[in-house]
């Protein structure tokens, strides 16, 4: 029984924190957030050099072969630093989709490139309905035509589609409305017929796009896994996304608390530090009381993916539901403790505040995950 991080994990945590403090301080977050592309190639390269892009890739394919707990530790640091860019979607979701769903050939084709950072990827699941939980709402279709599939349809909220190389795209491949009609394809971002338009988002550290597919031809060998076998992979990705976003939220919540406490220790009003007012103290203490136990929820969910697969889904939903709300509430309180300055663009806290809201809404809002907790817990 050991509910703690290993020495290697502590080193990973420390090195990630150090690197991001240096390479992705708030000034860099701001520069990227205010820029058009929403990521920094230099920063992405640094992260690849650290091996992070290959964290989940088996050593045989050039990765570190680590697990979800390691990834969660890393993502918590990303959340602390509010790292912008496709990392979560590429190094966690798309990579795991291939690790989990692809055959040996596709793995050999893509994993080494993903691990080295030579190639980045994203997942294209959502459509107009904004609903990722029900296969029936999927409208995009793929039809076999010779040695290729022809994809048509429109995807929405596709993270970083404008800058990654590969889109893991869900399409309907049979008349069935059910899960068995869904197939995943690896689509080259530069494929003909694909048009990608960035959508403007409030959280400038996350970028999403509209992806229009007009008779996009995808070679049949870029079908991920089985024909009609996409849905279980999608469900798995959503579980992973839940943990990943929860980890990010945990790190972010810790960070906004620190920002608020730091500010409260320097800002004077009524002739004293505002941190000496009981109202401020209690708000900060309530943040601690929410964040501390929640850390263990994130760790457990990630660990469950590594070691207790039957508990993974429920634990993922627990972590996502809890951290979504905790991060949002903490960010809200942090802004309030900052007062007027916290409401300005000039101060950094709003980047975290907005990221908290993105985290809350993406991949299922808290109510969705609570219902899943109830269902999986047999309530």
């Amino acid at each position: 029984m050991d509910f703690g991080l290993s020495d290697d994990q502590l080193i990973l945590q420390r090195s990630a924190r150090d690197l991001l403090a240096k390479e992705c301080p708030p000034a860099v977050v701001r520069r990227i957030a205010e820029g058009p592309s929403g990521h920094s190639e230099a920063l992405d390269r640094r992260m690849a050099e650290m091996g992070w892009t290959g964290l989940l890739v088996p050593p045989a394919s050039g990765g570190l072969g680590l697990g979800m707990l390691d990834m969660a530790i890393l993502l918590a640091e990303h959340g602390r630093a509010a790292v912008p860019g496709p990392f979560l979607f590429s190094a966690l979701l798309a990579t795991r989709a291939i690790v989990r769903g692809a055959d040996r050939r596709l793995k050999k084709q893509w994993l080494p490139k993903l691990a080295s950072g030579e190639c980045t990827a994203t997942i294209a699941l959502l459509e107009e309905s904004g609903d990722s939980a029900h296969p029936a709402v999927l409208r995009s279709r793929a039809r076999r035509k010779g040695a290729a599939y022809v994809l048509s349809g429109r995807k929405l909220f596709v993270p970083y589609a404008h800058c990654v190389d590969l889109l893991i795209t869900a399409c309907r491949t049979s008349g069935s409305d059910g899960p068995d009609g869904v197939t995943l394809f690896l689509v080259d971002r530069r494929a003909s017929g694909l048009s990608i338009r960035p959508l403007e988002t409030v959280d400038r550290t996350r970028r999403v796009c509209e992806v229009e597919m007009r008779r996009v031809e995808v070679p049949a060998d870029q079908l991920l896994g089985r024909l009609g076998g996409g849905w279980p992979v999608i469900e798995h990705l959503l579980d992973l996304a839940a943990v990943g976003v929860a980890a990010d939220g945990f790190g972010g919540a810790e960070r906004v608390l620190e920002m608020a406490v730091e500010y409260a220790k320097t800002r004077q009003q009524f002739g004293r530090l505002i941190g000496s007012f009981q109202a401020i103290k209690h708000i900060a203490a309530e943040m601690v009381a929410e964040i501390e136990p929640a850390r263990s929820l994130v760790w457990f969910a990630a660990y469950a993916h590594d070691a207790l697969p039957r508990e993974a889904r429920r634990a993922s939903s627990m972590a996502k539901a809890a951290l979504s709300e905790i991060y949002s509430r903490c960010a809200n309180r942090a802004v309030q403790i900052h007062g007027g300055i916290g409401f300005t663009w000039e101060h950094d806290v709003h980047f975290w505040f907005k990221r908290a809201k993105w985290n809350e809404l993406a991949f299922g809002a808290p109510a969705f995950h609570r219902e899943r907790v109830a269902a999986l817990g047999g309530f």
Partner: protein, 401 residues
């Protein structure tokens, strides 16, 4: 208790409705996030206020000689009622609100209470007609919640104050014509006793307005710098060094303004429309039982604030003092508005994070914008913490810390 309208009032309500139907353009809706950044829109909104004023729908309860419709004889109760009808119909018609609202609701009432006759005649009619847009010069970088610690100073030189210092969070300063401003006129006195309330022409030499960008990305408020700005002594409101008292009157008006329940009702109606039209899992979001609980909870809070405002209106009609009602309004309404927006974002899901300029955005992006803006209002005009202090100390008589 009688919530029915008199036949006269009903007739008036019909008139207002007709007028609004004719005059509220479909293309200039009430909720246009961040509209104060756009000079063309400002001109339109000034025009709109003039139109409303000319129709007799702005601040009817003010005395006739200052641009209102109240007569010494005492039709004031009737006018207050009519004003309420106008305000409610404006919400229903989703008409744009008054751009000169700080003049009408904050400095205007304050001038009526503390201004000289000359000041009233000079400013009040223009405030109503939307000719003068006002801004509030209270907060400073070092004095937010602790307003009385302000350091912008005004030295007297002959018939003028010479003002030096800086204000911050000054909404609308970028296009305001006038500012009501707190300045320190006696640096040696205890902090509440050396403050004066003066009116500053924003076109005076020595004033620099520097927009601050809000977290919404808009330039809604500003830093305002004063360098040897000359302000005629005639622009002093109330007594010299007695500005704190005057300021408090305005603050209370501000709290009521920020605590306006019509805005809240409008937002809730918008949320409800959203929940009824957006679908999830093949059904309207509003059909989900857990969502219904939360919608109903908000509906109840919104409705309680509506009746609460009726009660306050009744108290006003009877000349009863509102006590700390303004603080309760401000505290409850701003938190409630923020909660409404938060639920709207949840209804929208991923759509909720789209910026107003984005394709596929819902309701022109008003929800994420207002989600942030209402958080700003929880902070501005005295934070929720400050309102709680006021309620506990002035309302309940608990001892000062």
């Amino acid at each position: 208790m009688d919530l029915s309208l008199t036949p006269q009032e009903s007739e008036f309500q019909r008139q207002v409705r007709r007028w609004l139907r004719r005059n509220v353009s479909r293309r200039s809706p009430a909720e246009e996030p961040g509209e104060y950044g756009n000079p063309k829109r400002i001109a339109e909104l000034k025009q709109w206020q003039r139109k409303l004023y000319e129709a007799g729908y702005v601040a009817m309860g003010w005395p006739r000689e200052y641009g209102g419709q109240s007569e010494p004889g005492g039709n004031r109760r009737d006018l207050l009622m009519r004003q309420t009808i106008v305000n409610e119909e404006m919400v229903k018609a989703r008409a744009p609100s008054l751009i000169g609202v700080m003049g009408v609701q904050m400095v205007g009432p304050t001038l009526m209470q503390y201004g000289t006759e000359e000041q009233k005649r000079r400013f009040l009619p223009k405030i109503l007609a939307g000719e003068q847009i006002w801004c509030q010069g209270y907060s400073e970088p070092g004095s937010g919640s602790d307003l009385a610690s302000l350091t912008t100073r005004a030295e007297i030189a002959g018939d003028f104050f010479i003002v030096n210092g800086q204000k911050v969070w000054t909404s609308n300063a970028q296009f305001a014509d006038w500012m009501f401003c707190l300045v320190r006129t006696d640096p040696t006195a205890p902090k509440h006793k050396g403050i004066s309330y003066i009116l500053i022409d924003m076109k005076s030499p020595g004033i620099t307005v520097r927009p601050l960008v809000q977290m919404t990305g808009d330039k809604g408020f500003n830093e305002v710098f004063f360098e040897d700005v000359r302000v005629p002594r005639a622009n002093l409101v109330g007594e010299l060094n007695q500005g704190w008292q005057v300021a408090n009157a305005t603050l209370s008006h501000e709290r009521n303004l920020l605590g306006s329940t019509t805005r809240t009702q409008q937002m809730f109606q918008g949320l409800l429309r959203l929940a009824r039209t957006r679908r999830r899992g093949g059904k309207p979001v509003s059909a989900d039982p857990a969502m219904r609980q939360r919608l109903a909870d908000l509906a109840i809070r919104v409705e309680s604030m509506k009746y609460h405002s009726y009660r306050q209106l009744t108290d006003l009609l009877h000349g009863r003092s509102p006590g700390i009602a303004a603080s309760v309004n401000k505290l409850v309404s701003t938190e409630l508005n923020h909660a409404i927006c938060a639920l709207a974002l949840e209804v929208l899901g991923d759509y909720g994070m789209l910026e107003r300029r984005s394709r596929h955005v819902a309701d022109r992006g008003v929800w994420p914008y207002e989600f942030m803006f209402t958080l700003g209002l929880i902070i501005g005009g005295g934070t929720s913490q400050i309102q709680k202090n006021i309620i506990a100390e002035r309302g309940l008589g608990l001892p000062r810390g």
